[in-house]
C-alpha cells in the first residue's frame, strides 16, 4: 500500500518538475504539497487502526471501517486483560507512541484519561501477545493430545460415563438418530430388571452394553413382566420377526417368564446390530466433532 502511494505521488511531483519553470513560486508550493501529501497518506496507512490489519473474529465493532469504534474495543480488551498486564511494561516505546497517535487521530481529540487507558491497553496487548504465544503452544499441545484421545475413545467408554452419555446423546439428537441409543438404554434397563426380579428364570443374561449405571438402575415395578397383553397387541409390538412373534405368542399362552431366555437371545442380535450401526456411523462422526475433542480435553 505504501509503495502504491509513493508511486501515485511521484507522478504529480515529476509533472511539476517538468512542467512548471524554476522561477515560479508555485513550483515550490506544488512540490511541498506533493511531499506532505505523500507523507500524510503514508502515515495514515501505517497508523491505520488495528482492526484494519487483520479481520477481527469476535469484534465488538459493528462496522470495521468505523474508526471511532476501535476505542471501545480497546477498552473492553483492556478490561478483560488488565489482570495479565503486569509483565513487560517498560518495553517497546514505539508501540506506545504509535497507539497513542493512532488513537488520538481516530478519536479526534479524546481527553488525556482516555488516552492513558488506551495506552495501558496497548501494554497489556503487547504483554498478552507473549502470554498468548506460550499459552497458545500449550493449548495446541493439549488439543493435540485431546484429538488423539478422542480417537482412542470407544462407544462403551463414552456410554459408561454420565457426561459422555449425555454428550453423545445430544450429538445423536442433532443427527436425528437418538432412537438407537434409547433402544439400548431401555433394553439394558429391562435386563437390569430381569437380573433383579426374574433371575431364577434366566440362565444367561446375554449381551450387555456398559451404560452409565444411574440411567439403568431405575426402579421398575416387579409386576412389570406380568402385564396382560392380548395376542394381537403382542403381535403388533413384535415387528413381524418370526422368531419374536412366536416367542411373544408363547409369552401369552404359557407363563410369562419361560419365554424370556429365547427373547433375550433374539433381542441381543438386534442390540448388537444397533451397537455396530452406532459405532460405524454416528460414533465415528461424534469422534470427529469438536464436542468430543472438548470432552477429551476435560478428561485430560
Amino acid at each position: 500500500m505504501v509503495t502504491i502511494n509513493q508511486i501515485i505521488w511521484t507522478i504529480p511531483f515529476l509533472l511539476t518538475i517538468y512542467l512548471v519553470p524554476i522561477k515560479y513560486y508555485e513550483r515550490q508550493l506544488f512540490l511541498m504539497t506533493c511531499v506532505s501529501g505523500l507523507y500524510t497518506v503514508n502515515m495514515l496507512i501505517i497508523l491505520r487502526p488495528k482492526n484494519m490489519y487483520y479481520p477481527l473474529v469476535d469484534s465488538v465493532m459493528r462496522c470495521r471501517w468505523n474508526c471511532l469504534c476501535i476505542r471501545r474495543r480497546y477498552r473492553s480488551n483492556y478490561e478483560s486483560n488488565i489482570s495479565k498486564s503486569n509483565a513487560s511494561k517498560g518495553s517497546n516505546s514505539n508501540g506506545s507512541s504509535r497507539s497513542r497517535s493512532s488513537n488520538g487521530g481516530s478519536n479526534g481529540g479524546a481527553d488525556g484519561d482516555k488516552d492513558l487507558d488506551t495506552c495501558k491497553k496497548c501494554w497489556s496487548n503487547l504483554s498478552n501477545v507473549s502470554d498468548l504465544h506460550s499459552s497458545h503452544s500449550k493449548e495446541t499441545r493439549a488439543r493435540r493430545t485431546a484429538i488423539e484421545m478422542s480417537y482412542q475413545l470407544t462407544l462403551e467408554k463414552v456410554l459408561s460415563k454420565q457426561n459422555g452419555f449425555e454428550l453423545f446423546a445430544s450429538h445423536l439428537v442433532k443427527e436425528l438418530s437418538l432412537e438407537n441409543l434409547l433402544f439400548l438404554v431401555e433394553y439394558m434397563q429391562l435386563k437390569y430388571f430381569v437380573t433383579i426380579h426374574l433371575q431364577s428364570h434366566v440362565t444367561n443374561i446375554g449381551y450387555q452394553i456398559p451404560i452409565c449405571p444411574t440411567l439403568i438402575q431405575k426402579y421398575l415395578s416387579s409386576h412389570l413382566a406380568q402385564a396382560n397383553l392380548s395376542t394381537s397387541t403382542s403381535w403388533a409390538i413384535c415387528l413381524g420377526i418370526n422368531t419374536v412373534t412366536r416367542q411373544m405368542t408363547e409369552l401369552k399362552h404359557n407363563s410369562t417368564v419361560h419365554a424370556l431366555q429365547p427373547l433375550i437371545v433374539v433381542f441381543d442380535i438386534a442390540a448388537r446390530d444397533i451397537v455396530n450401526l452406532l459405532k460405524g456411523d454416528s460414533f465415528y462422526r461424534f469422534q470427529l466433532s469438536s464436542e468430543c475433542i472438548r470432552y477429551c480435553e476435560e478428561l485430560i
Partner: protein, 376 residues
C-alpha cells in the same frame, strides 16, 4: 460491579444475536440440496465423492474411520455368507450354537417354512453346493464368534477370511446370490484385497473410501463452496425407519438429489432380507425406489422444487444386464436385454412419475463414480 456485569452480558447478548443473524444470512445464501433415495442407492457414496472433490477431502482421522468401516464390512459380509450357507444346508451354527439353539435350532415353524420354500426353489444338488467343507469349520467358528465387528483385522482373521474366500466354493457360490441376502457388491473387492486391507499400516485410498458401504443412520450435513455459490448438502439414511425422519429437512430445499441404484432391480431390500428363498420379482429395491420417488414427488412442499435424478452404479448395471433382465422390476418392459434400451426405459419410467409438468427434472448417470450427463 453490577454495571460491569450487565455491560458484559449485553456484549455477550449482542455477540450471540450477531452470530444468529450471520448464520441466518448464510443460511439464506446457501442452496440447500437434499440427498434422498432408497437404502443402499449410494447417497453417502455421492456425499463422500462431493467431499473429496469439492470439500477439503478426507483427512487422516476420517480415513481411520473409513478403515474401520471397511474392516466392519469385511467381517459382517463374511459372517453373513457363512450364516446363510449354514442355514441353507441346515448345518448347526457352530459359533452361536449354545446361545442361539432355542430360536434357530428348534424353531419348527421356521424350519418347516424354510425347507418348504427351499424345496420349491432348489434341488438337493443345488443345496449341496452351499455346504462348507469340514476343513473350514475352524475358520467359520472363529469368524462367527467375533462380535465387535469394528475391531481391527488381526492376522489370524485375515488368514481365515482369505482361506474361506479363495478356497471355499460354497462361500463363492453364496456370494453369487448376494442380491438376496443383502451383501454389497464391493465386498468382493475387499475380500480380494484382504491382505492389503489387513496390514497394520493400511490407509484406505480414494477407491476404498468410495467403495466402503455402511448403513447411514440419521442425518449429516456439509457445506460446499463451489466458485461463489454455497451448497449445503444433507445426507440421510435410506432404510424404511430412516425415511420417517426426512420430513424434518424439507423446509427451504433448493433441489432434491434423488439417487437410484441401477443394479437394484434384483436386490432384496435390507428390511426384507431373509434367505435364498426370497422372491426378487415380488419385492426388490427398484420397486422400493420407485415407491419412495413417487412419495417424495407427492410432498406438498416439493411441488415447485427441482429434482435431479442420479442413476448410480451404471458400470455394474452393464455387467448385470447380461445375466438378469430388468423385467424383475418392470414386467411391462418388452425391449432387448441390453444396457442402453433398459436404462432408457428406466429413466423414462422415473420421469413419467412426475405429474407436475413445470417442475424441473434432470437426469445424471454415474459410471465408476464419475458423473455423466448421458450414458452413451
Amino acid at each position: 460491579m453490577g454495571g460491569c456485569m450487565s455491560d458484559s452480558q449485553d456484549t455477550t447478548d449482542r455477540n450471540v444475536e450477531r452470530e444468529i443473524e450471520k448464520d441466518k444470512k448464510q443460511d439464506t445464501r446457501a442452496h440447500k440440496l437434499l440427498l434422498l433415495g432408497a437404502g443402499g442407492s449410494g447417497k453417502s457414496t455421492f456425499f463422500k465423492q462431493l467431499k473429496a472433490i469439492h470439500g477439503e477431502g478426507h483427512n487422516d482421522r476420517e480415513k481411520e474411520g473409513f478403515k474401520r468401516q471397511i474392516h466392519g464390512q469385511v467381517v459382517e459380509s463374511i459372517q453373513l455368507l457363512i450364516r446363510q450357507c449354514k442355514t441353507v444346508t441346515k448345518d448347526p451354527l457352530p459359533g452361536i450354537k449354545d446361545e442361539d439353539d432355542e430360536p434357530f435350532g428348534n424353531d419348527d415353524l421356521d424350519d418347516a417354512r424354510l425347507s418348504n420354500s427351499l424345496k420349491v426353489e432348489m434341488t438337493e444338488t443345488e443345496i449341496a453346493q452351499f455346504k462348507i467343507a469340514k476343513e473350514f469349520d475352524q475358520s467359520c467358528q472363529y469368524l462367527l464368534e467375533i462380535h465387535g465387528s469394528r475391531s481391527a483385522l488381526t492376522e489370524q482373521l485375515v488368514t481365515h477370511v482369505k482361506s474361506l474366500w479363495n478356497e471355499c466354493p460354497a462361500i463363492q457360490a453364496m456370494f453369487e446370490h448376494r442380491n438376496k441376502i443383502g451383501i454389497p457388491d464391493s465386498s468382493a473387492f475387499f475380500f480380494n484385497d484382504i491382505e492389503r486391507i489387513g496390514r497394520s499400516d493400511y490407509t484406505p485410498d480414494h477407491k476404498d473410501i468410495v467403495l466402503a458401504r455402511y448403513r447411514t443412520t440419521g442425518m449429516t450435513e456439509k457445506e460446499f463452496h463451489i466458485k461463489d455459490a454455497v451448497f449445503k448438502v444433507l445426507d440421510v439414511g435410506g432404510q424404511r425407519n430412516e425415511r420417517k425422519k426426512w420430513i424434518h429437512f424439507f423446509d427451504g430445499v433448493t433441489a432434491v438429489l434423488f439417487v437410484v441404484s441401477l443394479t437394484c432391480y434384483d436386490e432384496v431390500p435390507f428390511e426384507d432380507v431373509t434367505d435364498l428363498a426370497a422372491d426378487v420379482t415380488l419385492m426388490n429395491s427398484m420397486l422400493e425406489s420407485i415407491k419412495v420417488f413417487e412419495d417424495t414427488l407427492d410432498f406438498e412442499c416439493f411441488q415447485k422444487t427441482g429434482f435431479i435424478l442420479f442413476f448410480n452404479k451404471a458400470d455394474l448395471m452393464q455387467e448385470k444386464i447380461k445375466r438378469v433382465p430388468i423385467t424383475n422390476a418392470f414386467p411391462n418392459y418388452k425391449g432387448p436385454q441390453e444396457f442402453k434400451p433398459s436404462v432408457d426405459y428406466i429413466s423414462k419410467y422415473f420421469l413419467s412419475l412426475n405429474r407436475v409438468p413445470e417442475r424441473e427434472m434432470l437426469l445424471r448417470f454415474f459410471f465408476e463414480y464419475v458423473l455423466f450427463v448421458n450414458y452413451w
